[in-house]
């Protein structure tokens, strides 16, 4: 399906470049954020926030607001709700299970009320990276750079609070504030990643590249940077797989990331043996 005329070839190149750039931009944010998700065991928290994004899509479509804004608002409310319930001593596992799946189901029901969306529901669940527009690209890079800047700015405090909340408090760092910053970063990533991998697989793009980097890195900064690099490679590989075999792009990228994780884990084990 690649070229019949010169014109379609250029068009193909354009959307491919945009798709590649979208994946790389997202990976710059998911690398370091994914590292924190692993270090702080927030994987299910990420899932709940991402699932809530579907509800955000429904609300945005119903009110004619931009979809990234709707997802950002709902993802942020979900993240803050879960974080504050956890702080009050609710059973986090149960809370996340109820909220995560409840938000997903509610979102799917709500979206069915919005006319003409049935056909594109799949793109919200699994992403539609091949349809990224220049405006989408600007949103993705803007959001990703904001997250990256936020994490770099708070890096030392975030890392201290992750090691030990008490240690952070003794050093004059408020661990609750740092957790809120991560919560905000997570909501932003969910909002911009929806177009790339879709609500169901955002958490995978946070966890899997970081887990792969963990096997190879010696320090926190190395792990964060490597997670970004491996995430970008996974995006490009998945994109290639999608074009070559006509597979869905989002799941292909996650599959590629999983392959990279397996190789990294094997390599890490061999090196340590």
């Amino acid at each position: 399906m690649i070229t019949t005329t010169r014109g379609t070839s250029i068009m193909l190149d354009d959307f491919l470049i945009r798709a590649g750039l979208a994946g790389i931009g997202l990976s710059l944010a998911t690398g370091p954020l994914g590292a924190f998700v692993l270090w702080r065991r927030m994987a299910y928290f990420g899932d709940a926030t991402a699932h809530a994004a579907i509800l955000g899509v429904a609300l945005a479509l119903a009110t004619d607001l931009p979809v990234p804004l709707g997802t950002l608002v709902v993802a942020l409310s979900m993240a803050v709700t879960v974080a504050s319930l956890a702080a009050k001593g609710w059973a986090v596992d149960t809370t996340l299970g109820v909220l995560s799946h409840g938000a997903l189901a509610l979102g799917l029901v709500a979206i069915s009320f919005v006319h003409g969306v049935h056909t594109s529901l799949e793109s919200y669940l699994f992403g539609d990276i091949l349809a990224v527009t220049p405006a989408d690209l600007a949103t993705i890079w803007g959001g990703a750079m904001a997250v990256l800047a936020l994490l770099i700015w708070r890096w030392q405090a975030l890392l201290t609070a992750t090691l030990s909340a008490d240690l952070a408090r003794a050093d004059g760092i408020d661990p609750d504030r740092e957790r809120l910053i991560l919560t905000l970063a997570l909501a932003l990533v969910v909002a911009v990643a929806l177009k790339v991998v879709g609500a169901l697989l955002i958490a995978a793009m946070l966890v899997i590249p970081a887990a792969a980097a963990r096997a190879l890195a010696r320090g926190p900064e190395g792990m964060a940077a490597l997670a970004s690099a491996l995430g970008a490679v996974a995006c490009l590989l998945g994109l290639g797989l999608s074009l070559w075999q006509d597979t869905p792009a989002g799941p292909s990228m996650v599959a590629a990331a999983t392959g990279i994780f397996a190789l990294a884990a094997l390599f890490g084990r061999l090196r340590r043996a």
Binding site: L38, W39, R40, R41, Q156, A157, L159, T160, T162, L163, S164, D166, L167, A168, R169, A170, D171, I173, A211, R214, A217, R218, G219, P220, M223
Partner: protein, 260 residues
């Protein structure tokens, strides 16, 4: 006074863990809080550090007091790989020269490149102490620093604390449940079981009936050893009240019951 807690009470989940506790630490003084498990020792440290809300009372710190805190343990997730050198640069980045100097101070010269997760308990305590020292603290606060160490390891750690106090003039507030080694290393001992049972110099406290009631049962052997080694020249309990510690007049048999 570097730090002074006045009549503080702390409730956790509706249970009064500390009631009406007053403690103070002077510059250059080593104060140890002793008590059985669950007696509120760690809660007391966390309360005076401002990590827990007080239900009553107040804590005052000297102006500009810098704290160095050494927690009981570091529940570090195995996915967070970090060298000792990197750990020392949290939250403030320090130069390699500073890091090397402070590691030498705690006897961990060669550990900079090692992973935090791979350290033994005693090594981790020394590294956490090194990190606390980098902030040039006026008051060091240590929560059960020798938990899990053998007796020579304990003694070596307390010697190190005494050296740090001598070299920097910092006050030290620590918590422990061991008896003899820590007693010998302290200027003042506070015996805690939700409230202050007795307080004073190690010699005074070890002779106090409240202390014996609190520790006498399960630790006869260790206590006897301590008494034998340190107390035979004891000049009675006349200075028992002279140290200004609280002498409660209620029945102390009740404590054992609570603590058990």
């Amino acid at each position: 006074m570097l730090l002074q807690a006045q009549n503080i009470s702390v409730r956790l989940d509706g249970v009064e863990v500390l009631s009406d506790v007053s403690i103070g630490v002077e510059a250059g003084e080593i104060v140890t809080v002793l008590g059985p498990n669950g007696s509120g020792k760690s809660t007391l440290l966390r309360a005076v550090l401002g990590m827990l809300p007080l239900s009553s009372g107040q804590v005052r710190r000297a102006d500009g007091l810098r704290l160095g805190y050494v927690p009981q343990k570091l529940a570090i997730d195995p996915s967070l790989r970090m060298t000792v050198r990197r750990f020392l640069s949290l939250p403030r980045r320090v130069s390699d020269a500073e890091a090397a100097q402070v590691l030498a101070r705690v006897g961990m010269e060669a550990a900079g490149h090692r992973q935090i997760a791979a350290l033994s308990g005693g090594q981790l305590q020394r590294v956490m102490l090194a990190r606390a020292l980098l902030g040039h603290p006026g008051l060091l606060v240590l929560d059960e620093p020798t938990q899990g160490l053998d007796q020579p390891g304990e003694a070596a750690f307390y010697t190190l604390i005494a050296e740090v106090r001598r070299d920097t003039g910092a006050g030290v507030l620590m918590v422990s449940h061991d008896l003899h080694v820590v007693m010998a290393a302290s200027d003042r001992v506070i015996c805690l079981n939700h409230h202050i049972c007795c307080e004073g110099t190690p010699r005074v406290v070890s002779a106090a009936p409240e202390y014996r009631a609190l520790f006498g049962l399960g630790t006869q052997g260790a206590l006897a050893l301590y008494q034998h080694r340190h107390d035979h020249s004891h000049d009675g309990t006349a200075d028992h009240g002279a140290q200004g510690h609280d002498h409660h007049d209620h029945d102390h048999a009740g404590h054992i019951h609570h603590a058990g």
